[in-house]
């Protein structure tokens, strides 16, 4: 996972007001847009509008933070996985998320921002990450629901990003998407095992679906008329489909999967419209979403505290690695000398 339209329209006031562009800049911008329109990829050292760079740094770093914070709710269950098979799968998945975070930080760094700056923004609470990781994982079924729904929504979001106009981001997304499909499948398999298990196990699966359904729909970000950057990001081909389009695709793909499990989607208004070929669904509670983005979700504080603790507790490892590298260098010099 996990990119999300996290910036609501209200925030636009904070943006610097547009200044007059010089003729030269206008020409550069025109040429840039032509390249993007022609589906040419933009590479790190190519000229790009400042807004394009800023948007990418924000989106890619939020995406990277989401991967790293996303390790926490699932990591919670590694030591308590019910079988060795489930345990190795979960361990591999969480390790993948760490790797995805790294690919993305690397992609962000090609835009001239340092890793320490990005990590600092996460630890200070300044940076945003996907709202979904601020929900708790109280039962084992949550691990199934996360793989099935959260990673399912992530895939829906991320596949179009493989064609993003910015080369390093697109390449990172190709790697990520390739790895992500195992995440979703292991989650669905886990849900299937519970849904076909004892009545108590099935109840657990249903309870997890009840809690994760709406937050998963919110992962696609605010609806199109509330989304701050959509039009420009579409023109820049950072974004290919609108939040609402992707959300609809997710619902259309997921409802039949829930039916196969014999579980009920917690939305009384959900119905199939034979005319359009799409599922219609109830209104999303955006108050909940906005509260989470403001830092008031069930686990916001816990997540950032956990990341800070990891950073502080890991300080000696970073110091030791640096000291060890220096010693090795000294030894090599002595040998050569």
């Amino acid at each position: 996972m996990y990119t999300q339209g996290l910036d609501a329209k209200a925030e636009q006031g904070a943006q610097p007001s547009p200044r007059l562009v010089t003729e030269q800049e206008a020409a550069l911008q025109g040429r840039f847009q032509e390249r993007v329109d022609a589906e040419e990829k933009i590479e790190p050292r190519d000229w790009m509008p400042e807004g394009y760079r800023r948007t990418l740094v924000r989106q890619i770093s939020q995406h990277a933070h989401s991967e790293i914070v996303g390790m926490l709710p699932e990591g919670n269950w590694i030591t308590r996985a019910p079988t060795l098979r489930r345990k190795v799968a979960l361990l591999a998945k969480v390790q993948d998320e760490g790797g995805h975070g790294l690919y993305l930080y690397s992609a962000a760094e090609t835009l001239g921002v340092s890793r320490d700056e990005l990590v600092g923004q996460l630890l200070s609470g300044k940076a945003k990450y996907s709202s979904i990781f601020n929900y708790p994982t109280p039962t084992w079924a949550d691990i199934g629901a996360i793989g099935w729904l959260v990673d399912g929504a992530a895939i829906m979001n991320q596949v179009p990003l493989c064609r993003c106009s910015y080369g390093p981001y697109a390449r990172a997304m190709v790697r990520i998407c390739r790895e992500e499909s195992f995440h979703q499948r292991q989650g669905y398999e886990l849900m299937l095992a519970l849904a076909q298990g004892t009545p108590e196990q099935k109840r657990m699966a249903q309870d997890a679906l009840n809690r994760w359904w709406w937050p998963s729909l919110m992962m696609f970000g605010p609806s199109d008329d509330q989304s701050a950057h959509s039009a420009q990001n579409m023109a820049w081909k950072i974004k290919r489909f609108s939040n609402d389009e992707l959300r609809q695709r997710f619902v259309d793909a997921t409802v039949p999967q829930a039916e196969f499990l014999g579980l009920t989607i917690p939305d009384p208004e959900l119905r199939f419209n034979a005319g359009t070929g799409h599922y219609e669904f109830g209104a999303i509670d955006w108050t909940e979403f906005n509260e989470i983005l403001k830092g008031n979700g069930p686990c916001n504080r816990e997540r950032i505290e956990a990341r800070r603790k990891v950073w502080d507790d890991g300080a000696w490892v970073r110091e030791a690695a640096t000291a060890h590298a220096a010693k090795r260098k000294q030894r090599a010099l002595k040998k050569a000398g």
């Binding site: 590479e43 050292r45 190519d46 000229w47 591999a92 390790q95 993948d96 790797g99 790294l102 690919y103 690397s106 992609a107 760094e109 340092s114 890793r115 320490d116 390449r171 990172a172 790697r175 790895e179 970073r318 110091e319 690695a321 640096t322 000291a323 060890h324 590298a325 090795r328 260098k329």
Partner: protein, 95 residues
């Protein structure tokens, strides 16, 4: 010492013998050895490669994209560098 001291390494992987190393991404490490160890974990979790190169990013000299035209244009009008430039009668075989 802070991690700011860790340089950036560009990572290249050879997918299998017979193919060239290909750039896959980058990472920070205290030294080249740590870069190789971490590249193993980050970029080859699913049998992606048989060999890794870690190259300090600072050691890479790169051409300037704004000079792309003057750098590559000279090759664009030299069609005689391509085999199809030369007319050979259809009756002549194996050439």
């Amino acid at each position: 010492m802070d991690r700011k001291d860790w340089p950036l390494f560009e990572i290249f992987i050879r997918p299998k013998n017979g193919l060239s190393h290909k750039h896959v991404g980058s990472l920070h490490a205290a030294d080249a050895r740590m870069a190789l160890d971490n590249a193993r974990d980050v970029y080859t979790r699913r049998g992606e490669g048989v060999s890794i190169w870690a190259v300090p990013a600072a050691s890479i000299a790169a051409s300037d994209p704004t000079e792309k035209a003057s750098l590559f244009d000279p090759a664009d009008d030299k069609v005689y560098r391509h085999p199809t430039f030369y007319d050979i009668p259809a009756d002549v075989k194996n050439i």
